[in-house]
Amino acid sequence: MIYYFGTIVMLVLLAPILLSYIKAVKMVLLFKRPISLFQGYRNFSKLMQKETIISEETSAITRWAPFFILSPLVLILFFLPPVTQGSYYVSFVDAFTITGLISLSTFFLMLLGLDSASAFGGMGSSRESFISALVEPAMVLTIFSVSLMAGNLGIGQAGVNLAEHFPQEHMASFLFAGISFFILLIAENGRIPVDNPETHLELTMVHEAMTLDLTGVYLAIIESAASIKFIIFASLFASLFFPFGYRLEPVEAILFFIIKLFIIATIVAILEVNTAKLRLFKIPNLLGLSIVFAFLSLITFYVLGA
């Protein structure tokens, strides 16, 4: 139980750090002086002190949406697979609930974008809806095949099973699922090449465009939601597709898990440096790729059993 809550707290604390870590790595690679890992916290505290400005065009949605954006993601943290042996994990929640919760938060994010009658907001939610519509099937299919391989739909149980015995016999479909899930990780969290969180250029904006009219606490909430979303995906990826180090001593296991997260973050950072932001209408190619891989893994599992 202690490990359970410990992990959750750990993840919450880690979330901003991970994002700023990615940024830092990128800057290093670009021969700039890297920002500190705690930049995320600084931004947060800064935003907390600011007053919130609410547009007169907006409605109750703006006042409520941020909470509904954050809360499902926070909830997901409780459902993640265990990091170490003997840690408690939630058994009554399965993969669909998690995808559902993610889309719940996206839903309100898009509404938020449309609520302030600005051109940016509409643009952002339009693009976001497009991307998430394409992400959804890939995600479901991937989770399907993974949980088939794990032999259980309960996400926690699935993580445990994978850790207990690694599915060598289904290596092919496991690999496909992994690739597709990694693409999803990039797409859902609005990283390059799907979206560029740094710039505020209307050509490239997706996620930022929706939150353009927010300041202060609301913006803080949204940003932390983003970081939590990233860490959720990262840890899912870590515990489903690198199911190693589960059997270590608890403390070591947790440390190993954190290392895994940072490795993933590094990969993402390197990827971001080396690729250019895709045009919006090129994005479907990428997502289509992930759908194809997910489909492939399902088919290979079904038909070939490999």
């Binding site: 007053e51 919130t52 909470f67 926070v74 929640v93 919760l101 889309s103 209408f281």
Partner: protein, 628 residues
Amino acid sequence: MFQFDTLSLIFVALIFFAAIPNIFYSLGYLPHIKRKSYYVIHYFAFIFSMIGVVLSANGLVFLFFWEIMSLASWQLILTEPKEKSVIDAARFYFFMTHFGFIFLLLFFLIVSNGDLEISFTQMHSIASIFPYPTILFFFLILGFLSKAGVVPVHVWLPYAHPAAPSPASALMSGVMLKVALYGLFRFLFDVLYPWPLEWGTFILIIGSITSLVGILYAMAEHDIKALLANSSIENIGIILIAFGMGMIFDTLHMEILSTFSFIAAMFHIFNHMGFKSLLFMGAGAILHQTHTKNLEKYGGLIKLMPVTAFTFLFAAMSITALPPSNGFLSEWMIFQSMLSSSNITNDMSLKLAIPFAIFALAMTGGLAIATFIKAYGISFLGIHRSSNAKHAKEVNFFMQIGMILMMFFIISLMLFAPQFLKFFDSLFVDLGLPSVYMRIFPEDMFSIHSVGVHGGVVSPLILLAALFGITLLLVVAYKVLNVKERIYHTWGCGYKTSAKTQYTSTGFSGVMRRFFNWLYQPEECFYKQNLAGHETKFLDASYEVKIKPLFERTIYDGLKKGINTISYWVYRLAHFEQTRYPAMIFNLMLFILFSYRIFTHEVSWESLMIESIMMLISMKILVIGEKK
């Protein structure tokens, strides 16, 4: 005459749940209608005929009420025949229903040996000895699914349902489609049982295709009621997916799983009735206030009509299957049932069909979110895009009551899911399948278990509680911080924020439309008034997109053309000049006597050939005559 088994009663319950809020709603809607008595008569005739259909115990009564139902709904569509489109829609609808009726008629006549008063079980004994059961199956499919709006016989639906007055369209989308599905269930179970594997696969496939097509066209719609109608097509597809899975499992003797899938289908039927009725009521409320169905003319209605906005949002969340809404639960069950098919080992077609269905369902879910974000965001959020929207007010008391009642029904579907599932379970126990209630709820009421091996679990109430808790915490924290707020208006990059700066519905679905261009093939009309020859600067510009459904363009228009040509030639043929009448009779007699002679005595190809040659010659000489 009538029967009251569980299946019928469940659907009667469905009709009542739909009708009671709807009656309140139309009570409030009535002042909006000119031909009141006409409307009321047909409205109640419609409801009663639907009840009659689901209660009827023999073919004659069934067909009778079925036709009354079509008749009444057709008349309901014609309640306000202001513009031509309504009249055409009504005609198209009535023709399609009759088209379906033909196949039903044939089906019934075949399985009842012409005596329509026999019960369904007797029909079963007749059908079992009929040599070509697949023909019966396809008659059934064409008969009922053309009413339920399944691809490719769905084209009438997005025209017909929006044309009716809103309460009526709520009933049509919410209940009438389900009554069609009732027919399918009833006769697949009572008459055509057991099923070969292909039938289940077929239903699964058409269900997947239907859901995809429906949601894709819903995405591209600008007429809010047409959008809802298209999404009804999608939901029917989803229900069929579940039903097909059930049939497949049943054929493979996995009774537990099949019951589970059937229950999922029933659950989704109820859910769809709930939220689709509510959505149509909301759309009706907007229409009632703004007098337009065009999404582009809405905007900012959330401030003017809060109750409608809230209920609409609620229904939208439920239809997009966001946890922990009831819509999520039923789709979750459907996913689970499909996932439990992993250990099907024998059939290759299934191994390809089921992943496709999974993909279709998932894709549908994603697109549904986009669609309803558009529907809700464009109509309720932002700034009003027209003066109609500017002067809208909250609708009257009765309409609010109707919507709120329906919302309560949806909430109850979520909260009392176990009780509902028990209800459905008893139905399938009644139909001779094993009970799975105890396996769905092994220990407690809180978590719904999938019955598949290592199936998933979901616990809506806990989710709901947790979500509320966390949100509450956040809100409380926010209040504690008591940050000071400033009211200012949206930043429009230095321009003044106005209706023109925000995204239109066309713009919102633009990305999607561009991606699915190969399907939509839209005809775009772009108008721009340039300023002093500058390409980039312009005073005024407008961009419109019209999308004619692919199936309509291909199948239906083609058919129409064909019929026209045939009728033209028949017309030419029949209009030979009247002096030729005796000649025609002459040839007729020649032909018939000759054929009699041949067919009674020697049938051989020579004699037939001689006859045909002789007929040709005499036709040439006597009827056609010389070229002038």
